[in-house]
Amino acid sequence: MAVSGTSRQKQTDEVMELTLVNTVFQIFSSNMMDIPVIKPLVDVLMTVPIVKYLVALILWKPFFAVILVPGLTGLMLSLLFIIWFERKLTARIQWRMGPLEISRSIGGILQPLADGMRYFFQEIIIHKEAHRPYFVQFPILAFIPVLLPVLFIPAGTVYAIRTPYALPVIVSLISMIPVVIMAIGWASNSRLAFIGTVREAFMYFGYEIPFIIAVLAMAVLYGTSDLYLIVEKQRVWGIALNPISALVFLITMAMATSRLPFEIAEADQEIAFGPFVEYSGILFGLTMTLAYEKMYILGLLFSVLFLGGGSGPPLPFLGDLTPVIWLYIKAVIIMCIMAFLRAVYPRYRIDQALRLGWTYLAGLAVVSVVIAGLISAGGLLP
């Protein structure tokens, strides 16, 4: 009896394990990406015992949104693309060729990858006066506020978390990035880093308020801050409904990502990359890409708020992937526009940028709220 008892016990364990796995599998497979092109392949794979769990996980919508597109992988791809594109476009405007020697046949697009690998194998110098633990930690910690907003951004039905508070959560997470940069500058403990940190702090207050008001205007206009609903309500794109809010968003985005007219905190020629002056190797690579990552998140947010998110002409046989691709393309286009600015403008002085932020932009942001209020109160939203 005892023997059979243990075996029964074993059997129940196995059954329970199987039910647990099956429940998880049920959760995954009930909410899977439906992509007609690869459907036959998926169907075949789903019959293979172990592989099916993996396939289910990858195609599980929240996982897909966070780890693939528009999440981590999309972020990395867009980084590689935008750094290359920025250099190439600037070079074209400046009568040059841009990066070309690495992978010459495809226009040197592998150059950022090569640079990244060089960063990886470069020595990381930590100077004597630096606060060592913080100095090393902060560039890595900076990824948390950069990556978390992706959880809340919907690409059609592909999203990780849907909540009516998505917009405030994203804005507050994005606002955390400058805090990390200031911490980086403080840990560097150098004169130029100190000046850069102070500049970053000033800029932070300069752009954050108009930015939040401009986003608020859109929440007022749509009457919700659930991004999924906002996308659904946009039969006409938000940029047409409230162009002033879009303008304020774009300019504050340039300020927030320290693009060129407002590249004040980093100011290469003045304070030698400001807060990041002491970094080298992969840590410098991380800090350098921080602004681009922020730009990607803000580009996604801009697409969702003003460009109809994942909406667009349906692509045949892509099913659930269609809105993902449209959202991604829109975000990358916004990044390209930001990259273009670099070839056009010099850098403003800190007082001029602050004046712009506190007067013109804040004023315009308030106007955009009024417009949004009128539109939503008048029931003009189609």
């Binding site: 600037t90 405007i93 400046q94 009568w95 040059r96 004169r191 130029l192 000046i195 060129l260 007219p261 590249e263 004040i264 100011a267 290469d268 020629q269 003045e270 030698a272 670099r342 070839a343 056009v344 403008y345 010099p346 850098r347 403003y348 002085r349 800190i350 007082d351 001029q352």
Partner: protein, 417 residues
């Protein structure tokens, strides 16, 4: 306002002790007590050039700026003392990259003055053309550096691209792009072909055309104007008191140009105007130089149109050489025989030249016996306006340091010699 002092023992940072910073300990302590901050800009700094500026700031405002030049000192004057007069030509064109012709003309004119050499007319015109090419090149170079100091990379690349035309003109005429060593006592080294003159004439049109694009993207760009207007102002009185020279003096409202005053080379025979500004701020200093580019283009066009035919080397130097006719066209084969004999009479001979960045002074002292100069004094424009540059920094913001630096086109190798 009452000055507040914190009476606590101050320990200046360690970096002020071992780095041979030429500021006294008291200065650092004083700055720390009065809640000011000392920033060392340079020599390893993207916006300092080959020099260090010790900037004392209060908040964001520059209270005091101490220059520390000399990082690229090459002791040109001493080197010149054991070289033949002719061997100094490649030496003296090296302080300033693009300005080689102007630097040669100054030195050569002092020698010609001493030996009473009459320069043939064609040589004078060729010299004028090359001096003005140098001037355009220098101004374009400075505009490029200026732009990149403001963070405007397109404004950096375009003038440098245009400068390539100047280099190409130099290349076709003299065989080298920058350090031409083309102007020698008594004339120039070789005649310039008509096709090369045509190329120079045409390239002036290209520069004029492409400068329009540069004007739109940089000169008239509202962001640039915002950065430069009313920044680093030097009034007329200050500019005179601090001994500022060249376009920067003219930007403060003083109409003084050595080319007009001395009328050397062919400048007296050509029609051109002196750009003079009123405000004396960074933007005016830049605009004056932009206007000088168009005036130089005007000079070059006239000079090419009116250039006479004739020899390019003075008969005073050729002497009784048998192959006179050949040497008058091209000095090849006779260089050493003609120029090694140059020996200046006893005395001191001075020449003033308007180089790209302002007044350039050469003073040669000769003992009358040796074939090398006893002493050569060379005062470059950069050295002359360094004081004005430092004074105009005071009261502006730290971010304006680079804007003012670029607006003066300060070039440490030129100032340090």
């Amino acid at each position: 306002m009452r000055e507040e002092y914190l009476d606590i023992p101050v320990e200046p940072p360690a970096e002020f002790q071992p780095l041979f910073v030429p500021i006294p300990r008291e200065y650092v302590e004083n700055a720390f007590r009065s809640d000011e901050f000392i920033v060392l800009v340079g020599p390893q700094h993207p916006g300092s050039g080959h020099m260090r500026i010790v900037v004392r700031i209060k908040g964001d405002i520059i209270v005091d700026a101490l220059p520390e030049p000399g990082y690229v000192h090459r002791s040109m004057e001493k080197l010149a003392e054991n070289r033949l007069y002719i061997q100094n030509i490649p030496l003296f064109e090296r302080p300033s990259i693009m300005d080689s012709s102007n630097y040669n003309v100054g030195y050569v004119r002092a020698i010609e003055d001493a030996l009473d050499i009459e320069v043939p007319e064609r040589a004078r015109y060729i010299r004028t053309i090359f001096c003005e090419l140098s001037r355009i090149g220098t101004h374009l170079y400075d505009a490029g550096i200026f732009s990149v100091f403001l963070g405007h990379t397109t404004g950096f690349m375009w003038p440098f691209g245009l400068r390539e035309l100047i280099c190409e003109a130099n290349l076709r005429a003299t065989g080298t792009r920058v350090t031409t060593s083309f102007i020698v006592p008594g004339g120039v080294r070789a005649d310039v072909d008509d096709s090369v003159l045509k190329f120079i004439y045409d390239s002036m049109g290209v520069i004029e055309k492409r400068m329009k694009g540069f004007e739109k993207i940089f000169i008239k760009n509202p962001a640039v104007i915002a950065r430069l207007k009313d920044v680093g102002v030097l009034t007329k009185e200050e500019a005179i008191r601090y001994g500022v020279v060249g376009p920067f003096l003219r930007a403060s409202g003083v109409a003084y140009d050595v080319r007009k005053v001395e009328g050397y080379d062919a400048y007296d025979e050509l029609e051109w105007e002196v750009p003079v500004g009123d405000d004396g701020d960074a933007y005016t200093r830049f605009l004056v130089r932009v206007e000088e580019i168009s005036q130089s283009i005007k000079i070059i066009r006239q000079a090419i149109k009116n250039i006479p035919r004739g020899p390019i080397l003075s008969d005073d130097l050729i002497g009784k050489l048998k192959e006179k006719d050949q040497v008058r066209k091209n000095i090849k084969g006779y260089f050493y025989r003609i120029f090694s004999r140059i020996r200046l009479p006893q005395g001191e001979f001075t020449s003033q030249t308007e180089a790209g960045r302002g007044l350039l002074l050469y003073s040669i002292v000769s003992d009358g016996e040796s074939n090398v100069p006893y002493r050569v004094r060379m005062v470059t424009p950069g050295w002359l306006y360094l004081k004005g540059f430092m004074e105009s920094l005071k009261g502006s913001r730290l971010a304006d340091l680079q804007a003012i630096y670029g607006s003066f086109g300060y070039f440490p190798p030129e100032a340090d010699r």
